[in-house]
């Protein structure tokens, strides 16, 4: 195994602004936000609620368009929502196969590839279940397998574990980290859980609220795998929370 040293930018966001509402009374969701993500990096975005994290992911995923600025991206990214958003009329396997089909994978290869992806998320025995027959954590893993089926260069995750209980969430952190390490998939992970961000990320970016821009970046250098309750994880998380509080306070003072 070699450690990749050349920097290859998978995503470049430059001075992107997004405004909502009618002209005159508009609110800035994003204000000249810039962000570069290198190949294989795991970047976490944290911010107070309503800070435009989801807006940013929608812009990167091409579900929305910025008013100003430029987003350069290699290929179409995969996106994981907080809700698994599986198609309820298809089984877990068929959900994955549909993603393969839309990617243009030949019919004869789809079944094998879907089975492989089910194995990646440890659900090889549950492929023929429909989404409602699976638990929340299992649905989210099927959604992850479906996202992997897109074979995208960039994986966007919008608070994907926000609705799960602590034990399931903890296991999914391990699972996601393992898959990320095996596939070397560039990942942007949005969360409001700062410890989760420190647990998973190479970098944690703190977003300001309304309009959002990046106020500080923290490099996470602890060796992997990390644990949520590890002292140095907790300590860095504490620093980041302090930074976030300062940001939130500045809003109270401004208005």
């Amino acid at each position: 195994m070699t450690v990749v040293t050349e920097r290859q930018t998978v995503l470049s966001v430059k001075d992107v602004s997004k405004v909502y509402g009618p002209a005159g009374s508009h609110t800035f969701a994003l204000d000249r936000l810039s962000l570069d993500v290198q190949k294989g990096e795991f970047v976490c975005l944290v911010g107070a609620s309503g800070c435009g994290k989801t807006t940013l992911l929608n812009l990167i995923a091409g579900l929305d368009h910025p008013q100003n600025g430029k987003i350069e991206i290699a290929g179409r990214p995969a996106l994981l929502f907080q809700d698994a958003a599986l198609f309820p009329w298809l089984t877990a396997r068929q959900n994955i196969e549909l993603a393969l089909r839309l990617r243009g994978v030949a019919k004869r290869d789809r079944a094998d590839e879907a089975q492989r992806l089910l194995r990646v998320v440890h659900l090889e025995d549950f492929g023929d279940r429909r989404p409602h027959e699976l638990s929340g954590g299992m649905r989210q893993r099927v959604a992850l397998a479906r996202a992997l089926a897109q074979d995208a260069r960039l994986l966007l995750m919008d608070e994907p574990f926000g609705a799960l209980d602590a034990i399931t969430r903890d296991l999914l952190h391990d699972e996601l980290e393992r898959i990320w390490q095996e596939t070397n998939l560039t990942t942007i992970f949005v969360t409001h859980n700062v410890r989760e961000a420190v647990r998973l990320g190479d970098r944690v970016l703190v977003l300001s609220s309304r309009p959002a821009h990046i106020v500080e970046a923290f490099d996470v250098t602890m060796p992997r795998p990390r644990h949520l309750d590890q002292p140095d994880v907790a300590q860095l998380a504490g620093q980041i929370v302090d930074r976030l509080r300062k940001e939130v306070r500045s809003h109270g003072a401004a208005s």
Binding site: W89, R103, F126, E182
Partner: protein
Amino acid sequence: MAQRLDPSPDPYAVDIAGLDALEVPVQAAPNAARKLWTAGWPRLAAIVVAIGGWELLTIFKVKPSYVLPGPGPVFARLFHDIANGLLLHAMAHTMWRAAIGYGIAVVIGTLLGIVVARSRVVRAAIGSLITGLQTMPTIAWFPFAILLFGLTERAILFVVVLGAAPAIANGLISGVDNIPPILLRAGRVLGATGFDAYRHVVIPAALPGFVSGLKQGWAFAWRSLMAGELLVLLGTSLGQVLQNERDTNDAPGLVATMIVILFIGIVVDSLLFARAETAIRRRWGLLEN
């Protein structure tokens, strides 16, 4: 930068398998005979109560028997008319009309529904008109239909189609409107655009609404058809038989024919539409077993 680890056996696989085993809902396979009995006995009881009440009305002679015949003579007459072929013949003709009229209504209603669901302009133009048409009693169309087509099959079909098509279109429109936006976004992220989006996301996601539209459309078609057959007396049909029995003061025959009309309505609804609806709801997990 990511450090690649050796893809060694995953130590978390065991934990995850344990959690999965705990979290998956346990489903007991329902016993077929028991299921049939659970679904069947309330229906059976309702029929017994209805016929019993009817018998009581005739025993106490609430109305004279030439106006309100009892269950005995009516069922005797029913078997007689079925055995001699009259009702079967009439049923065949009526069902043929129903199939053609409903078939045309499905095609028109579906096309209309797709156009309205897709286009904001068309929806603004005729969206409320479709709902209006659905509330308009179909019998009110008949004078106009007869003026247009005379006392012909076409007059009957015209009204059947007008009765059913708006309901079918409305079902499809509400099916599309009720698609959770997250599914549409998920489809777009996966690269389903244009025709692919319709084929793989919009149409399957709108299916529950569409099926209830089809079901409602059938109910409207059947009602319109009966009204039509009573007004436009052509050939031997259920409506025409009913009208004949009224003209000849044939009360047992009249009630027997009504039972057949009700029976067909129930059978089509429960065998076709209710089943389709249940199957879809079960697939989607919207049904408790």
